[in-house]
Symmetry: C2
Subunit: 402 residues, 2 copies
């Protein structure tokens, strides 16, 4: 939870609508103005009945944290965090109302080395996950410069919101929406030409304006740093990349998996003014986020989870009767003390039923204990992969299974 005043107004109008509010406890309506209740004014009642909300992302809470702990934190400050966030969106494939974000942020430096490091982090993580991606990069400076140069600078966020949707709506539709908002069709056409110019060099020569040139120079630095150390995945400049959130000021990133139908699985950017609104100016920041559920869903679809992650391995101990259970409990304990992942089927039962449980759960070995085993101290061990069955003492067990 965060105070609603921390959350409200940081994510644009659309973000505000998607915030989940937490109801105050106690006598909710006592202090509410009678007129609000009479009018059934659902907006006006909100400040009376909810003072807290659920996190919408991890970046704004991070800025709030820095400001609250300004005296304890040494800048530059790096943090990583994995936490749930909530958005009152309509649930659909890849879109959840409650989901986990994994964030990495660097606060307290405006060095472009931070951006380069975060691009490399994206690259390395998806390399290790075996999930090929495209990392798209743009700069709010470029986007803002282009929009300004088309005479739309006064209404930047209206224009940016439409550009942000171009992966879902057609260019034609996007142009229509802008013209309907009263923009000059020629300027709109020029805007679309510029934002589809995906070559830094060629955009540079169009001589747009100083702000755009500044953004281009940033991206040249970031890209050349990343390329100098080698990237596994593609890093692509895309001047039509807008990002929905309102707090970005410099480079912005968005990651999409190749050959997948799953929107972005990561995004981020530079937010140099975010702590200002909490009363602490001049703390530049930049960060990226991974969408845990979407990455999980994709890895499941593409069978990228290694077998040892999906299936349990280790040993399952099955006991035939109550006496055997005691032996099994002690054996479980000594196998675990020797760092052998071991489970005890918690009650005696029929071998067939218990063996099918062992199969379903992918145990690598099953130890069966009956009265013979208790008497002889020799345990029957079955390797579930090879099917081979052996009789072993507990010492032999330990040395074979470690």
């Amino acid at each position: 939870m965060e105070a609603l005043e921390t959350l409200t107004g940081r994510y644009g109008d659309e973000g505000d609508k998607l915030l989940f509010r937490v109801l105050n406890n106690g006598d909710l309506l006592a202090e509410v103005d009678d007129k609000i209740l009479q009018d059934k004014d659902s907006n006006a009642i909100l400040p009376y009945i909810a003072k807290r909300g659920l996190r919408y992302d991890l970046t704004v809470p991070f800025a709030r944290y820095i400001v609250m702990n300004r005296h304890a934190i040494k800048l530059p400050f790096k943090r990583s965090a994995i936490q749930p966030v909530w958005r009152a969106d309509r649930p659909q494939r890849g879109r959840y109302q409650e989901f986990y974000q994994c964030d990495a942020d660097i606060a307290g430096s405006d060095s472009l080395y931070s951006e380069a490091e975060l691009v490399k982090l994206y690259d390395e993580v998806f390399r290790r996950l075996n999930l090929p991606v495209v990392i798209r990069i743009n700069s709010r400076k470029i986007l803002q410069g282009i929009i300004q140069s088309c005479g739309m600078g006064e209404r930047f966020s209206e224009v940016a919101i439409i550009i942000d949707k171009l992966d879902k709506i057609s260019d034609e539709k996007g142009k229509e929406l802008l013209v309907a908002k009263g923009f000059d069709p020629n300027e709109v056409n020029r805007l679309f030409e510029l934002i589809h110019n995906t070559q830094l060099d060629s955009l540079k020569t169009t001589g747009v304006n100083a702000l755009t040139q500044d953004g281009i120079s940033d991206l040249e630095t970031i890209c050349s740093l990343c390329q100098s150390t080698g990237l596994t995945n593609q890093l692509i400049f895309d001047p039509s990349l807008a990002r929905g959130l309102s707090y970005y000021t410099g480079a912005i990133f968005e990651v999409t998996a190749l050959d997948a139908n799953m929107g972005s699985i990561g995004g981020g950017g530079r937010y140099d003014n975010l702590t200002d609104s909490f009363g602490m100016p001049d703390i530049p920041g930049v960060g990226i986020s991974f969408g845990a559920e979407r990455i999980y869903d994709l890895m499941e679809e593409k069978n990228l989870f290694p077998p040892e992650v999906i299936k349990k391995s280790g040993v399952l101990i099955l006991c035939m009767d109550a006496i055997a259970m005691e032996t099994g409990f002690n054996l479980t304990s000594s196998l675990r003390n020797n760092h052998i992942s071991t489970e005890l089927y918690p009650e005696p039962g029929k071998v067939n039923k218990m063996m099918s449980y062992a199969n379903d759960n992918g145990y690598s070995h099953v130890i069966i204990i009956g009265s013979d085993e208790v008497a002889s101290g020799l345990f029957t061990v079955k390797n579930m992969h090879s099917g081979i069955q052996q009789k072993l003492t507990s010492d032999e067990l330990l040395s074979q299974l470690v």
Copy 2:
């Protein structure tokens, strides 16, 4: 979030009061009865404006999960989970409105081996954390049997709530409260004698009733199983242990740290009827919970975090100028590729300032790069523990730092 109908009524009256409700989105007041608004009836309005709540614990959502996934789950089913929970309690030392619980549960078996395994899990975790604890154990059967035998069985939960508070209020006060509720002072005295009888053997011979005897027999089995494999921490029978939550049916546990002023840092028990209320009877369950923040706070107070957890280790690269930064960025990349934890100070700066940053953050090695180093390919490496400074090639660096 959970549907409020999943949460309400599962934690006793006190629990219901401590639930956080999440406000519905959209036009909140449209459907609310005019009379409720006129009367400012804060209770009656709740069902209209909030249909979801925040998790109060992880056990009830686990039961809901089992019922929803009954066809996919193979019983017995074990799960562990680490997730935030929320309670609208007054915040104080060790009591947070948002905190993390770490739970381990076994569903689908009524075997007492499950209880024994969970006690051993408590024991092993706190042994590894170096935090000596007392694990108190009781059974709801014993408590219920005792309360019945004192003629208070009809009002079990009222009595249990007062017993649950005896670690905070005196026995005198507890007796007063019960007498004030109309219970016979002689029976109240007998109740207190019985719940302070901490010897299983001697409680057994008081011949309370069959339910108590059944609970005693359970605990004898659990304790003897645990002792047979050895415990590091104390396992103590405490018939006055009640646990606040209403869903327990059998053994209950509570863990307290020795020499600490911090309430319980773990608790749990058997809940054999929890899925019933979701329409799926006969799924017995038992589970335990660790309170992450309280354990963290205690470990911090007692200096139990190993130094390598508190302090960063690894290498910090400091660069004198823009050219050195490029070299530093490449070196960071190659050290990381060799699994050496490495950070690059993100901008060139004054050595003194950057060295004090390195000191404050506990890096084990600092590499300083200036124009000399770029030209010669020899890097200045300072071991921050010994203070020894060397000039090394990047190959020598890799072999020394791995």
